[in-house]
């Protein structure tokens, strides 16, 4: 489900080729010019992004997955109701943190395909059960991507019984209890290890790589950030609400395809994700894409400055989402008009982020439709 794109490396050679045969003094290298912006401090923005947005996100996610793994280890070592509740709470915390961590699928996360390992849903219950009954789990198999990560743990902690008492028996008296505990432990350990790996890379050499790719070409940090931000935002819009609400199936709804279907925190996650995307856009309190867009003369179709229009649309979409309630899977069935209205506002923001912003910044969106076969 989770599609990934790869903008990890660079197409500079093409630009260099075009540039180097042209007359000297033609200037306006797309790698340095940056659309119609004049003198925006891109390096400063990257600095702020890495120090105040990206690394804090990975740090918090690493902490959350460490806590989740500890809670699950405690639970599987001696399962009881309190430890189950604690593990469930730890999963929710990790899932919420993931929503402001998924935006950076380039560099170390891109290399490791982090997102598809963390958040592929709907989770494949059949594959999970096969892995339990066979007591084998190979984390390297791509076939297991839909049977691991937060959605699989969501199922194993919330979805295997009508209430916590029943769920608890799956880890105590059930015939497969031992195997189930083993798998659950492996899944949380894998999440923790992968989170630590990405954080280590960012705290190590990758940060300077990121800071030094100051252009706006395909492999630049700004180029990668925008591409991944838009990609991740489309994931929010499509997978977290659109597809379950039937926007891609002529109205046939798929409530079971929401994120965190079993723990029923889908809307909470959606709002956290929208905030995460907004934080990347604004760079929180420091230099962000908002400042970058504002440094250009770009206008929205209604004539207002593009940055103002984007910020306004974030607020509008958020307000619409706040009219919904969890479980979103029920809301999709009982309140489809409001769900569709929220989706429509998210869709407007897509156009701004995917078309207007990159165009204002001279950044190329490199992911797109596949060849269709």
């Amino acid at each position: 489900m989770r599609k990934l794109i790869y903008t990890a490396t660079v197409a500079v050679s093409a630009f260099v080729l075009i540039q180097s045969c042209s007359k000297s003094g033609s200037g306006n290298n797309p790698g340095n010019g940056g659309g119609n912006s004049t003198g925006f401090d891109r390096k400063g923005m990257l600095n702020n992004m890495s120090n105040n947005v990206i690394i804090p996100a990975y740090t918090a996610y690493q902490t959350a997955t460490t806590n989740l793994d500890a809670a699950i280890t405690a639970f599987t070592t001696a399962p009881d109701a309190a430890k189950l509740t604690a593990a469930q709470a730890a999963l929710k915390t990790a899932y919420l943190q993931w929503q402001s961590t998924s935006e950076f699928e380039f560099g170390p996360a891109g290399d490791a395909n982090l997102s598809s390992g963390v958040d592929t849903y709907p989770t494949n219950v059949g594959q999970i059960n096969t892995n339990i009954s066979s007591n084998t789990y190979n984390p390297d198999l791509l076939a297991n991507l839909s049977a691991k990560g937060l959605p699989a743990i969501d199922y194993l902690l919330f979805g295997i019984g009508a209430d916590n008492n029943t769920i608890l028996t799956q880890y105590t008296t059930d015939a497969a209890a031992a195997n189930r505990k083993t798998l659950l432990g492996k899944l949380s350990a894998e999440l923790k290890a992968n989170a630590a790996k990405i954080l280590t890379a960012w705290n190590g050499t990758y940060k300077s790589t990121f800071l030094n790719a100051t252009g706006t070409d395909v492999g630049s940090s700004a180029g990668q950030m925008v591409n991944q931000l838009v990609y991740d935002y489309e994931f929010l819009k499509n997978d977290e609400i659109g597809i379950p609400a039937g926007t891609q199936s002529m109205g046939t709804v798929f409530p079971e395809k929401v994120q965190a279907y079993y723990s029923k925190i889908s809307l909470q996650l959606l709002l956290a994700h929208l905030q995460g995307v907004l934080d990347v856009y604004t760079g929180k309190d420091g230099l962000g894409f908002d400042d970058y867009v504002a440094s250009t003369t770009a206008k929205y179709t209604d004539g207002t400055p593009l940055n103002d229009a984007i910020l306004k649309q974030f607020a509008t979409a958020k307000a619409k989402l706040q009219t919904l309630t969890d479980p979103l899977s029920d809301n999709i069935k009982t309140n489809p008009t409001a769900v569709t209205a929220a989706y429509a506002e998210l869709q407007k923001l897509t156009v701004m982020l995917k078309t207007d912003m990159p165009s204002a910044l001279g950044i190329l969106i490199t992911f797109g439709d596949t060849d269709g076969d």
């Binding site: 490396t9 260099v16 180097s20 560099g107 198999l141 791509l142 492999g219 060849d371």
Partner: protein, 365 residues
């Protein structure tokens, strides 16, 4: 690591360019003829190539029936050799065209094609849903309307065939025939046949026709198919569109103006570009595999496309890559496609990229 690639690729591009700029000045004095900007040459006729590409499309379309029931393998083979009037409907005219695919393909491909078809027919007859160890038809988990016929090891032979024939027919004809023997000194370039030009012009035109693009490509991309489609798909990282259209236009103008040196130079460019394009297309499929990485059925089908492209290099008699190297890349594919790991996929990508100098663009092709 990446930064190193970037810097290296920039440097190498600059170096290559610096030298090629010089070459342009030295060896290419201003031509005394005009190279047009579209392939609207007088007497250009590549309808035979277009017909053959149409036959390929008919075969691909028939293969889709493997998704809904037993596939008629005999008709497919008849289409390949154009025997027993296999084409129907709007394509019925192909039956009497006097043209066929089989006698234009590499010998190895003729054997392979038959095997690919047989394998697909076998899958189509199982009537079971595809899963690991079970041949049958499976649906993409992301978009269930997309279905694929996969063997028990996850191979989609419809796609292997579709990609292999791009090498076994199109690339084979271009590199082994039209860009070599087709423009040799023994080929007539004096007598103009009305509507077809000289024999040499006609050969060049057929090669252009096999590329599968409109005459005003890439400004107009309507109807671009097979290599014409892939040269566009990989264009973000490998500028095959411009390279090829420039070379085809320049070479054709050169033939009409008896400028053999320019003609040969363009033929070399075209010949080499088609091999690189094959590698770029394989990398493009790696990217698509990653885009459907958690979608077991769709992922296997895309991996089959990648496999088909790599395998098709074997049909190119002018290839730079060695047989051992092709086999090495093919050996990186898992025995069962359902068992693919990210490391294996990246190893396939890196090996192809390394062979063809695509390191810096391997993820964006």
């Amino acid at each position: 690591m990446k930064k190193t690639f970037t810097v290296l690729s920039m440097l190498s591009a600059v170096l290559i360019l610096a030298s090629s700029c010089k070459d342009d000045k030295k060896s290419n004095p201003a031509p005394n003829y005009t190279v047009p900007t579209t392939y609207n040459f007088t007497n250009a006729d590549f309808s035979d190539a277009t017909t053959r590409l149409g036959m390929v499309t008919e075969m691909s379309n028939l293969m889709k029936t493997a998704l809904t029931g037993p596939l008629d393998g005999q008709t497919l083979k008849n289409m390949f050799s154009n025997t027993s009037s296999p084409f129907t409907g709007a394509a019925a005219a192909y039956n009497t065209s006097g043209l066929q695919l089989k006698d234009q393909t590499a010998t190895l491909f003729q054997t392979d094609a038959s095997n690919f078809i047989d394998s697909l027919v076998k899958v189509s007859k199982t009537g079971t849903p595809a899963s690991r160890g079970v041949a049958g038809v499976g649906a993409s988990s992301a978009s269930p309307a997309s279905k694929y016929a996969l063997t028990a090891t996850g191979v989609n032979y419809a796609q292997v065939f579709n990609k292999a024939i791009m090498g076994g027919l199109i690339t084979y004809q271009i590199v082994n025939n039209y860009m070599t023997a087709g423009i040799s000194s023994s080929v007539d370039n004096t007598n103009v046949v009305a509507g077809k030009g000289t024999a040499m012009e006609h050969n060049w035109d057929l090669a252009f026709g096999y590329w599968g693009v409109p005459v005003d490509f890439p400004t107009n991309k309507t109807g671009a198919k097979l290599w014409g489609s892939y040269s566009t798909q990989v264009d973000s990282g490998f500028k095959a569109n411009k390279t090829l259209i420039d070379a085809f236009l320049k070479g054709r103008a050169a033939i009409s103006n008896k400028d053999n040196a320019t003609r040969d130079a363009q033929a070399t460019i075209i010949l080499q570009t088609f091999e690189k394009l094959t590698a770029a297309a394989a990398l493009q499929e790696v990217k698509e595999v990653k885009e459907s990485i958690s979608d077991n059925i769709a992922r296997n089908s895309r991996l089959s496309e990648c496999y088909g492209f790599v395998y098709s290099l074997k049909y190119n008699p002018k290839r730079k890559i060695s047989d051992a190297e092709i086999d090495k890349i093919l050996g990186l594919f898992p025995k069962n496609f359902y068992d693919l790991t990210l490391d294996q996929l990246n190893a396939i990508r890196d090996e192809i990229a390394g062979q063809y100098g695509f390191e810096s663009v391997k993820d964006i092709l």
